[in-house]
Structures are given as C-alpha cells and as structure tokens.
Symmetry: none
Subunit: 200 residues, 4 copies
DNA sequence: ACTTAATCGAGACGGTACGTCTTGTCTTGAG
DNA sequence: CTCAAGACAAGACGTACCGTCTCGATTAAGT
C-alpha cells in the first residue's frame, strides 16, 4: 500500500485560501473556483481530496485548532471562576466577526450535510464540551456540584444559551452575559438539597 | 397613493409551492425556478415581491403561524407542568424531520443574511420566547421563581440547550430530555435562598 | 359603425418616440417598452394599434414621407443629369448614418416579416421606383433610351448596386460612385443599335 | 503557446444544430439556448467561442462553402453563357426558401453588427464577387468587354439588382430574369464605341 | 539514474440556476 | 371605452459555478 503522493504545499495553500476568502466574503459567495484560483491550484486538486467546501473549512479549522491537549480547562479550585474564564472566551469568540465567520460557515453546511455534521461534532465540538464536562466532574468530586446532576446536560446549559443567542441574534454577547449565565447555571447545579424538592 | 396591485392568488401559490418543495428536497436544492414552475408563476413575480428565497420561506412560516394570540402558554398554576408541555412540544418539533426542515432552511439563510435574521427574530422567535417569559413572570408572582432571576436569561436556559443539541446533533431530542431540562432549569430559578450564597 | 376613438396625440407621441430612440440605439435594442415609456403611453396603446415595432417604424416613415406627389422626378430634358440628381440623393441618404438608421431598421424587420415586407414595398419602395421608371419612359419617348429596354429592370440596374453596396458595406457611397453608376446604366440603355448584336 | 483545446466534435454539433434550426424557424426565433440544447452542448461552450448567433451562422456558412478554389467560374470562352450560368445559380439560390434562409439570417445580423458585416464581406462575399470580376477581366482581354469599364462596378451591376429584388421582394427571381439581367449588363459593358459618346 | 504512474495547474466541457429583461396579455382606476 | 400604469406568465438572455473530463508537465517512488 503506497502512501498517497499528495502535495502538502497545495493542501496548505488551499486551506489558507479558503480561510482568507471566508474573511472577505460571505460563505455562500465562497466558491471552489475562487479557492482554487486564490490557491493557484487546479479545481481537480480540491475535488480529489475533499467532498465539499464544508469539508475544506472543517479541515482548516481542525488544522488550526492545534493539539487536542490544549483544550483542557484550568482547574484553580474555584469552579465558578474557571467557568467564567471559559464562557467569557467563548462569548468573545462568537462576538468577534472575524472568528465567528468560519463557525458560521461550518454551521451552515452542517445543517444540510449529515456526514459533515458528524465530523464537526466529533472533531471540533465534543473535545471542547468534554473538557468542560471533566472540569464539572472534578467540581462534583470537590462537592461543588450536586450528585444527581447529568453533567452532559449541565454542559449544554452553559453553552446552549450562547449558541442560541448568537444564532438568533437575540441579544448582545458580553462578558456580563457570560458571568450571569455561569451564575444561573451554577445555581442549577448547586448541592445542598434535593433539586426536585426545591420546587413545589 | 395607490396600493400595489398584487395578485393574492399568485402569492399563495408561491408560498405553498415553496413549503411543498422544501419537504421534498434539501434547502440548498430548493431553487427559485422550481418554486415558480411549481406555483405556475413567472420568476419575476417572485423577484418582484421577495428579496431571496429565505424571505419567501419566512413569509410562508409567518403566514402559517396564525394569530399571535395562539401563542400564549397555558397557565395551570403548575409551572413545572406547563414548561414541560412547552418544551416537549418544542423538542417534538425539532425531532420531526418534516417540521424541522423549514426551521433548518430559515436558519441556514439567517446565518448569511442579517436583514432576514432580524425579521425572523422579530416575527417568529421573539413572540414565542415572550410567551414563555410571561408564563415565568406569572410564576414569579406566584412565588415559584426566585425574585432576582433575569427572565430573558431563564428563557434562554430553557431553549438554548435544545437549539444547541439540534443544531449540532449532539444527542437525541426526546421527552425525557425535555423533562430533565425543565427540572434543571427550574432548580436554577428556584426561590428559597440566595442563589449566589448557595455556591461556595 | 363608430370610428375608433383613437387618441391622435398618443399616436404622434409614439411615432416620434420611435424615431428618436432609433437614432440613439441600434434597432434590436429598440424595445416597445422603451417607446411606450418615452412617449408617456401605456404599452397596450401600442399593441392595440400596431402588430409589431416594424409596423410602428413603417408608419413613422410613411407619415414623414409626405405627399406622394413630392416624389415626381424633375424632367430637365437631360436624362443623364436628372438620374445623377436622383442617385446622388439616394447615395447621400444611405451614406448618412442618421438617415439610414430607419432604413436599416425597416429592412431588418422586413427580412422576417412577409406582411410588413409587402407594405413597405407598396407604400415606400414602389412609389419611389415608379417615379424613376416614369422618367425613363419619358426618356424613351425622347429617344434617349432603347426601345426594347425593360424599364423595371433598368430601374433595378440603377438602384440595385447601391442597395448591394450599402447592405454589404462593399465600398464607399460617394457622388462619384453615383455618377459612374448612371453612366454605366445609361450605356446599357443606350439606343442606336441592337443591344444583342452588340455582343459577340 | 498552447493551442486552445477546443472540442471539434462540439463545434461541428453546434454549427449543424444552428443550420438545422434555421430551416425550422425564423431567424429571430432561433435562440442560443435552442442551439445548445439541440447540439447537446452547454450554452457556455457557444458563448466561449462565438460572440453572437450571427457569428455561429457565419462560421457554419464558411465551413460549408468549402475550398476557395471551388469558386472559380467556368471560362468556356462565351462570356454571356458563363455569366448566365452564374446568375441563374445565384437567382436559384435566392429563390429557394431553404437556401435563402441562412442568407436572410446573416443579412439581418449584418445590418446591426459592423464587425460581423466586415467578416461576412471578407469571407463570403468578396471571394464570390472576385471570381466573377476575374471572369470579366478575362473577357476584357478577349475583347468582349469595353476597355474603360470599372470591373467592380460591373460586378455590382450584375448582382445588385438580384439582391435588390430579393431583399425588397420586388418581383420574381426566375431564370428569365437572370438572362435579361445578363443581357442588359453586357450591353453596358459592350466594346465597340465610346460609352460616353453613345449618350446624347 | 530510469521508469512509470499518480498528481499537479489549467481550463474546456455538459449542465443548472441565477437575476434581469422583454414580450404580449390582463387588470385596475381615472377621466 | 380609452387611456397610463404596471402586474402577470413565459421564457431567452448572458454569467457564474458546479463537478467531470482531458491535456501535458512535474514529481516522487520503486526499480
């Protein structure tokens, strides 16, 4: 079995061109022809290695995401502070038009391409969410999170509102918002009494 | 000032054709030419009245949403039960491929068209969210929700995770999920003690 | 039987607008919509009274041609001089881009519309050619034209080359050309011997 | 310098389809879309290589005209007979609706497209007219044509009337007409006396 | 080094949809 | 009923991309 004689130089040029063009035009206006032209590459070279422009963007994102280890959250012992750090960073990323352009792009394609959606979920989303989940697990061990809380649901409670607000442009994405969200979510996870008893 | 002499018959045929086609093909495969052909209408008649196919879908959705009054939530006095009713319905809608097709479509276009996003937010999203917020406000008056809770944020806590899970296909959308989400969110809103004191 | 309640004001405005636009754009770019807009007239008013834009141009030309009597040739007794006068005028008309624009336009339409062709022939062309034929007949009576010459053919001998050269852009249309043509044609018509015997 | 990698198969299919369609519909009804569809070719392939449908027709005509050498006239020594042969053929071509359809088409476009007109003149018309002119030159050498006759003008004297009559539908195009025309034109060219003296 | 087969840049190809334009008909409301 | 205005169904325009294909030229193994 011979390794594919793929031109690494072309591969990098294509990914770079794709990200470049994304920052200049909207995603639907991003064409494979334009990527090929910008990268100085034949169209076939793109079609040979990627199924769609969504896949190109995905690879560009994964490529620039760096090592998976980088993703681990800090654990200062103060759960609230650590979550604030993460959610502030997330909010900042979504608020920055430059950074959110690629997220927007990949999200669009994801909505109409199940295969791509799966890959985005496994390669980009899950690692991030898992890192937060592990931090929550550590918090539970430290008695800062109620025993019965479903950690996956708790993670969604933290990130869902941000996606919702970003996606639907339903309000500003600020640090204060991130902090309020952390406070409210932590109230949901708080230990000290039965959560179900708390409601009438 | 003369009213535009618009043909209501054509308008209805176009909206119906758009929804029909959406249920047959994916959104990117939905073309204005196909809508015109199916509706038995000239292309120009679509371009004359709508800026994009996203706008056509939006109008179709708004048209079929019916009266704004229909949107008010039931108030049985049992907040948890009422929220479960709403979130179960929401989850069911997102889980149904037929029903979520239009939502998916409008969401795609929304990501690349700020003007459309604004209209979707104001005409479709806000009325729904407001209805839930008003139910929460009633709950607060009844002492079932903590005084200090930001009701808008609370609403996002309920719907954000669902959008997040649907959008990123990060898990199944079931009744049990809706119920768990209601429980966790209500824990966050629960009255009876200072929420901030509850955390170390 | 009531006379058609036709608006003379609109009719004139349409014909004027058509000629105006013809001098500004090429004939294929002349649209009925533009004529209607320029004339401040509804499109239907044009379609009501004319079958095609060719018919509009034809009526404009006939309208501006004036009385049929104007067409009679001068008869100074000098046939050659009189023919030079006519052919020089004809050549000048074809050479002038402004004047030949309408001729070009009507010719185009004529090539694809038999009915229009017939009307152009009868209302515009035949009267002109007849005037020349009558001058030739007078010349024959005066002994300047051979008895056996078919006068219709002779007329074509005078105008055919001009049309040919204009139509196919096969050379300049100058006074000298007109004069040479008159000389050559008159040689063909010259009396004094049997024409057929003249050739070996 | 690499030769353009043009698909000869497509080129032939396009020219054939254009001629086919021309014989079925009128020229203004001939659309590029229809040519592309009939030829089994993308529209862009036509637009890539031709500026207009007129240019397509021109190339089809030039392509089918064959070798330029084919154009040389017979020289039996009998000038009148040879010219009759040519003019009878010309008249027959114009009289045949099938054959004159393409001529009509190219003529229409020629009237509104100077560049096309030039190419038609140089590639189609001039070679034909030159062939006749050379026959006349041979006739002059043989003493059958007057020394002072401008041969280009003489050629126009032969073909101009035919174009005129065809273009303006000003009479039937028959063999008798061709013969009469040859006789009259030869009278104009006849040697044996000063042409100018012949007229009073 | 030589061979050889896949990959490369380039871009033509058959298609499809775009958004615009014009056609000829139809509809509305003012005069 | 005619008119100006302009919406309508129809469909061609010329352009932009799609994804496939064909062309030499380059390149990197495996001999």
């Amino acid at each position: 079995m011979t390794a594919p004689r793929r031109n690494e130089r072309s591969r990098r040029a294509i990914l770079a061109a794709a990200l470049e063009l994304l920052s200049e035009t909207s995603y639907p206006d991003l064409t494979i022809e334009a990527i090929a032209a910008r990268a100085g590459v034949g169209k076939q070279t793109i079609y040979r290695w990627w199924r769609s422009k969504g896949m190109v963007i995905l690879e560009a994102l994964v490529d620039s995401a760096g090592e998976p280890g980088d993703m681990a959250l800090p654990d200062t012992g103060d759960l609230r502070a650590d979550l604030r750090t993460v959610l502030r960073a997330t909010v900042a990323e979504f608020a920055d038009p430059r950074l959110s352009a690629t997220t927007r792009a990949i999200t669009i394609e994801t909505l109409a391409d199940d295969d791509l959606a799966e890959q985005v979920r496994d390669q980009l989303l899950r690692p991030q969410l898992s890192a937060v989940r592990e931090r929550l697990r550590a918090g539970r061990r430290a008695g800062q999170v109620h025993e019965s809380v479903d950690l996956d649901l708790a993670v969604e409670l933290l990130f869902g509102p941000i996606y919702h607000r970003w996606l639907l442009r339903n309000g500003p994405l600020t640090e204060a918002y991130a902090d309020d969200l952390v406070d409210l979510a932590m109230a949901a996870m708080a230990p000290g009494r039965s959560r179900l008893e708390a409601a009438p």
